[in-house]
Symmetry: none
Subunit: 223 residues, 4 copies
């Protein structure tokens, strides 16, 4: 009996341990693959990246990847969802501490640029693959990403309701305008001009244009 119960106890313990280990293993494997995929997708693009490349980068066997992801597209989607998910959470937290829409825009810009400067691989993936993906995976609604860009529309609307932002701009268009600009500018760190600009500098310039426009003297505008 003792032995039996001991044995069982041992088994339970072992099982728990195994599960923990497994989970830890899992988690780290999953994370390692996501990280590797981000890097490889950034470098080679989704289509030219091979599963074998990702496996090698993750120091994992090719087959192992299919224990964590259904297929190649699934990896791409996961990269988006998980990595962008993190950014969305972070920005949401920051925005929660602000009430001034001007400050919120500033926070959004700064945080985005910081993230993209720090994680250039992700920046590349977002910029390059994002649009392509929609074509491939028709049934994939890039929820996290939509959520992310929609934050801008929200800020604009907030600013308009507070009569700080002009009412004659449609939040929908402003959102696209704003994100497109931000996205393209972020790429500056992936070019030869790499070291030339600081986040603050660029953030400052974007804000200037966004808020006050290019004109020297106000009231001179075409519109």
């Amino acid at each position: 009996m003792n032995e039996w119960s001991f044995t069982v106890g041992q088994d339970i313990f072992t099982n728990l341990l195994n599960e923990l280990c497994a989970e830890m293993k899992d988690t780290s494997k999953h994370a390692k693959i996501i990280a590797a995929a981000t890097k490889v997708f950034a470098k080679k693009g989704f289509f030219t990246a091979r599963i074998a490349d990702i496996a090698q980068e993750a120091k994992v066997a090719d087959g192992t990847i299919y224990l964590y992801f259904n297929n190649k597209y699934d990896i791409l989607i996961s990269v988006f969802e998980e990595e962008i998910g993190k950014i969305v959470e972070q920005i949401k937290k920051v925005l929660a501490t602000e009430t001034d829409p001007r400050k919120m825009l500033e926070a959004y810009i700064t945080r985005h640029l910081q993230t993209m400067k720090r994680n250039r691989n992700l920046a590349e993936v977002i910029q390059i693959e994002l649009r392509q993906t929609n074509k491939l995976i028709k049934d994939y609604r890039n929820n996290k990403f939509t959520e992310y860009t929609d934050l801008v529309a929200d800020i604009v609307q907030l600013g308009q309701s507070q009569q700080i932002f002009r009412a004659d701009i449609q939040p929908d268009i402003a959102k696209r305008f704003f994100f497109g600009a931000l996205d393209e500018v972020s790429r500056i760190w992936n070019t030869s001009a790499e070291g030339k600009y600081s986040v603050e500098e660029i953030s400052d310039q974007l804000l200037k244009i966004i808020l006050s426009g290019l004109l020297v003297q106000k009231g001179n505008g075409i519109s």
Copy 2:
């Protein structure tokens, strides 16, 4: 004699006609393939597009494509160079008639949006493939395209030298900002919001933001 000379005349005429037709055929083959490729790339993306798709769309045999292009990448590059080349020429002409940098920006925006609304396939290809391509074809410098985006930097610099645009914006960054915004906004016609917006409306909104910014009252800005 008259009849004889007439006969010869007819022959000459026929020959000319044939040559013209032949030339048109040739020209149209190349053009047809470019058009087909643009359409197919737009719909399926460069990588998922098959040569057979393009051939079918162009109503041409697979092998025929290789009489006009070296390989699949060459088709893509040709689409860029030729189609963007046309836009660059058009915009350059328009810009030549303007001196006011504000009007020039307006012309640039309007012309770009018009083109993209009219040729949505090209819009997709530019937006989706442009960046991806650079990774693949390292030795391909997208000259026409660089030329196109550099026009904005020129306009900004012009405006600054005329003290119409603020001097504290770097043309380099403005260029990216401006093109990124324009590019992303153009995609609006490829979404479900398709019929909702007119070129004028969007053009107007972009100009407002670019020139005067989002703020209601000038002088309230952060910067």
Copy 3:
């Protein structure tokens, strides 16, 4: 009437002229293509040679080749038949003037080596393509070539009947032995050793081995 008959006369004359020209054209085109094919096959081998290569070499349009030959194999066969045919005729003539089988072998060797040294392209084609061909064109019996190698068997048999050549050698095997040796030795002019050897020198050495063998002292042989 005069004019009419004159016209007809002119037509007849023109027709004749045209036919002559056509025939000359024909002949020269055919010959040009054979020559070009020999050159191209020699350089690139049958399979890697393209019809377009031959056409270019012959300064003729691709399609023109199909006015003179049924297909690619047909060109190869024609090269054999026509070029080897010439050699066979030449050697037969020479052999007709000899009665001593030793002299006949000498003549055969010398003539073969001379031809191959002069027309290295043909040499390559014979050596490289000959065997390959049999596999491809099952119904093609390389008649001229068989005729050519059979000449050796005939000479050996003649020598044996005259009791000049040993009777314990089978002409069949001697034929293969002899031609294989000759063929392989001919390739010496297509290697880097090109200028090193004269026809006479090699011819002399082959004869020595064939007739008297490698042994210094007769009677010492294994057999």
Copy 4:
């Protein structure tokens, strides 16, 4: 305990067995492909052979071939190098036991003929593809093969230094002569005359010619 240790023993045994099997599988995959390729190349020739043919013959998927070889040419080269490598080793061993150059030639001939009669596929590949290949793969120096034919030059030189072979024959030419003859004669088993000749018979005849020549009475020769 005994049982337990026995079980472990069994496991170890099983593992070893599995590993052996696995290794055999691996080894046999490579070997199977080489064998299949040899057979297919022999039957259809290098160019008309399709990878799918080889794969089918080897009972392997098309793609599997590329796990063991870089491309089609690589298969051909491997066939040469590995199969000829074996022959070279065998002949070298045999030659090491001989000092008499006459016996050495005999050994060389017999061994070559034996091999070619046994492995007719290899014989075909050597004979048919060998020369063709050089044109294709310029940077491939058929080392094993050169080594193989050079053995003859060595033997001839040895015989000359021992004053058994005539000094007025250049080893270089003798080598070509000898190999060409041997090679062509080997083909006799790939023709309709297949069953007619034994290795010994042919070997005997070749030796006779090589050593003593065709002439009945010594001293009657032309040279």
